[in-house]
């Protein structure tokens, strides 16, 4: 059918039609196609961003309800700086983001990518598939697995398999080392993102360059330092910034693992607890929105940086059909 249409149209033009001048479709067609997406983006992205900032200037909470609230200016925002717990939340957020990022989301990701491209192809693929499993596993199942891995003897796998036979003291590891626990749990999911991006970057380094380094007698460490790292510096920067933002704002895994116990309530989880979900059902929407507002501001700043530094706007092409 398609082919016929082409033939017919070319016949048309030989009879003097000029296809370029003929208006293609209806002027408002784009609205039909863009409509649903625009509505959803407006309702679930733009409106919430506006709501965050509006409500952060009110004292709205479960005490005031939705009708008895009043404007309180910058009080919520000032409260963030004077709140006795702010320091603790900032501390755990910084530790969590920094170490997960360095050791796992970038460090381990790079290691996995380099190593899995230096072993036979099938084996490398199998390892990468294994590392994707945490990402596709339903998060509750994944956390359940970790809770059991780190449980105390006689149940926990790490304790039973490694610590007890070697004569170390056993413990409930999540309670004993809560920071390590949240870093491990997030890191094992996070590593796969960088792993995949780095892998495709390494595989696109030209064979000639890799072989040349071998002929010159470079060992694998020298090759990593002088060839691989310089060649993939853009993906490295992209993964680092992208994952920093993801880590600052993600709390799902921590919520299921500890729900903020043992001093692991990161900033985003604090906001979530204050504003949407807590044990007592006491919501401070105004204050919670201010806490979330800080994250929104950080996110917007990161997004602007992407547009600027990674030249995302260069990737926007002109539509093909209209320009011809």
């Amino acid at each position: 059918m398609g082919l016929k249409a082409v033939q017919e149209s070319s016949k048309d033009s030989t009879f003097g039609f000029n296809p370029v001048q003929k208006k293609l479709g209806n002027k408002y067609d784009w609205l039909l196609f863009m409509g649903p997406a625009m509505i959803l983006v407006a309702v679930f992205f733009i409106t919430p961003v506006i709501i965050v900032f509006i409500i952060s200037f009110t004292d709205m909470s479960s005490l005031t309800g939705f009708s008895n609230w009043s404007w309180i200016g910058f009080d919520n925002w000032i409260k963030i700086f004077t709140h006795p717990q702010s320091g603790q939340h900032i501390k755990v957020t910084v530790i969590y983001v920094f170490f997960t990022l360095i050791f796992f989301n970038v460090g381990l990701a790079l290691l996995l990518a380099i190593l899995s491209t230096h072993i036979p192809k099938a084996a490398g693929f199998a390892f990468r598939a294994l590392w994707l499993v945490p990402r596709i596993t339903p998060v509750v199942v994944y956390i359940m697995m970790w809770r059991y891995l780190m449980a105390d003897s006689p149940y926990g796998i790490f304790n039973e398999l490694f610590f007890r036979p070697l004569g170390f003291e056993t413990s409930e590891m999540v309670a004993a080392h809560p920071y390590i626990a949240i870093i491990l749990v997030n890191g094992f999911i996070g590593a796969s993102f960088g792993m995949i991006i780095f892998t495709s970057a390494i595989e696109s380094i030209s064979r000639d360059m890799m072989n040349a380094s071998l002929v010159d007698g470079a060992n694998i460490l020298q090759r990593i330092k002088y060839i691989i790292i310089p060649q993939i510096r853009w993906p490295l920067m992209f993964v680092t910034t992208f994952q920093t933002l993801s880590l600052i704002t993600s709390f799902e895994q921590i919520m299921i693992l500890t729900d903020g116990a043992y001093g692991t309530e990161v900033w985003s989880l604090w906001a979530y607890h204050k504003g949407l979900n807590n044990y007592f059902g006491q919501f401070q929407w105004g204050f919670g929105m201010a806490l979330a507002g800080i994250l929104v501001v950080i996110s917007i700043a990161f997004c602007i940086a992407y547009l600027k530094f990674f030249k995302f706007s260069d990737m926007i092409q002109e539509p093909k059909i209209e320009t011809l």
């Binding site: 398609g2 249409a5 082409v6 149209s9 296809p19 293609l24 479709g25 209806n26 784009w30 863009m34 649903p36 997406a37 959803l40 309702v43 679930f44 919430p48 961003v49 709501i51 965050v52 409500i55 939705f66 290691l111 380099i114 072993i119 390892f127 994707l132 499993v133 945490p134 596709i136 596993t137 339903p138 998060v139 199942v141 359940m144 059991y148 891995l149 796998i157 039973e160 491990l184 997030n186 999911i189 072989n211 071998l214 002929v215 993801s246 799902e252 985003s268 906001a271 979530y272 949407l276 979330a292 994250l295 992407y306 547009l307 990737m315 093909k320 059909i321 209209e322 320009t323 011809l324």
Partner: protein, 292 residues
């Protein structure tokens, strides 16, 4: 070509990377192994199945008796409905928008494309509290209140929105590489945009549709945070929230039961993954929205 490593007798260059990879993968391998083993055990000590007295043995199918519980099948149905409607919604909305962005020149096209790209990086979780207010508002409006707070409809709409930036970007990419001749001919012949889209272009991007479907289905099937946040009164709404409730119980957690339900939820995902790795890797490499 003579390469150094080929002269050596023992391939250390291959064995050492392999060994390091294996060591780092130990927690994953042990964890996955345990999930499978424990579902068939009364209890486990480390990786060893034991009976109720703590002696090795104690293999049982009792943990799977939850499959006889009609409640679980209701949850499974809910989860399935969430995953399939999410998939259909994401496909429909993002293929339409992707088409317009790839093929139609309209005012605001560039800025929408730019914002789509930026929204991919924008963490939707920061907006959850505010989304709660949006859903509360929708609840109060007649006709659309089925998409409000505490409804499956609301959860589906919010989930579709969070998937949209990736979906639109992906679909646009697939439309971009289709030659425009066919479509142009159809349009010149007076075929409407909608018909051109549906009958000529959609069949051309089948791989893209497949990839996005798989990805969306897995996302919907596994999703936790959005159902958990916006269906608080029905804690049992989907399998994820059900497992979470089992795990948070104050009484000693029956890990064998929890992992059986967990494995039940994981099986479709793993099957999908095994048969469609290539599609999925393409998506992950193309533009992935990371939880962490």
């Amino acid at each position: 070509m003579i390469v150094n490593s080929k002269i050596r007798t023992f391939p250390w260059g291959k064995v050492i990377p392999f060994a390091i990879l294996l060591i780092f993968s130990i927690p994953l391998i042990l964890g996955i192994y345990w999930v499978v083993i424990s579902t068939f055990s009364v209890s486990t000590r480390g990786l060893i199945p034991v009976d109720s007295a703590g002696n090795p043995g104690g293999l049982t199918l009792a943990n799977w008796s939850f499959l006889k519980d009609p409640e679980v099948w209701k949850l499974t149905w809910n989860t399935f409905v969430l995953a399939t409607t999410l998939t259909l919604g994401v496909l429909l909305v993002s293929s339409m928008a992707g088409y317009a962005l790839a093929r139609i020149n309209f005012k605001g096209r560039k800025s929408f494309l730019g914002s789509t790209m930026v929204l991919q990086a924008f963490p939707a979780t920061t907006l959850l509290i505010a989304t709660y207010f949006v859903l509360r508002f929708i609840s109060g409006v007649p006709l659309i209140s089925i998409f409000g707070y505490d409804t499956l409809g609301g959860v589906i709409l919010v989930s579709i929105s969070t998937q949209l930036p990736l979906g639109i970007w992906l679909m646009k990419g697939f439309f971009d590489v289709i030659p425009w001749d066919l479509e142009r001919a159809a349009l010149i012949d007076g075929c409407s945009r909608w018909r051109t889209f549906r009958q000529i272009l959609l069949p051309q991007i089948r791989p893209g549709i497949a990839a996005l479907s798989i990805f969306s289905f897995i996302t919907g099937w596994s999703s936790f945070l959005i159902p958990y946040s916006f269906m608080t009164n029905q804690d049992t709404a989907v399998i994820s929230t059900y497992i979470n409730r089992l795990m948070q119980e104050t009484a000693p957690v029956n890990y064998s039961l929890v992992s059986a339900v967990g494995l039940f939820q994981l099986i479709p995902v793993i099957l999908f993954f095994i048969f469609t790795q290539k599609y999925l890797l393409a998506i992950f490499a193309g533009g992935m929205k990371g939880g962490s």
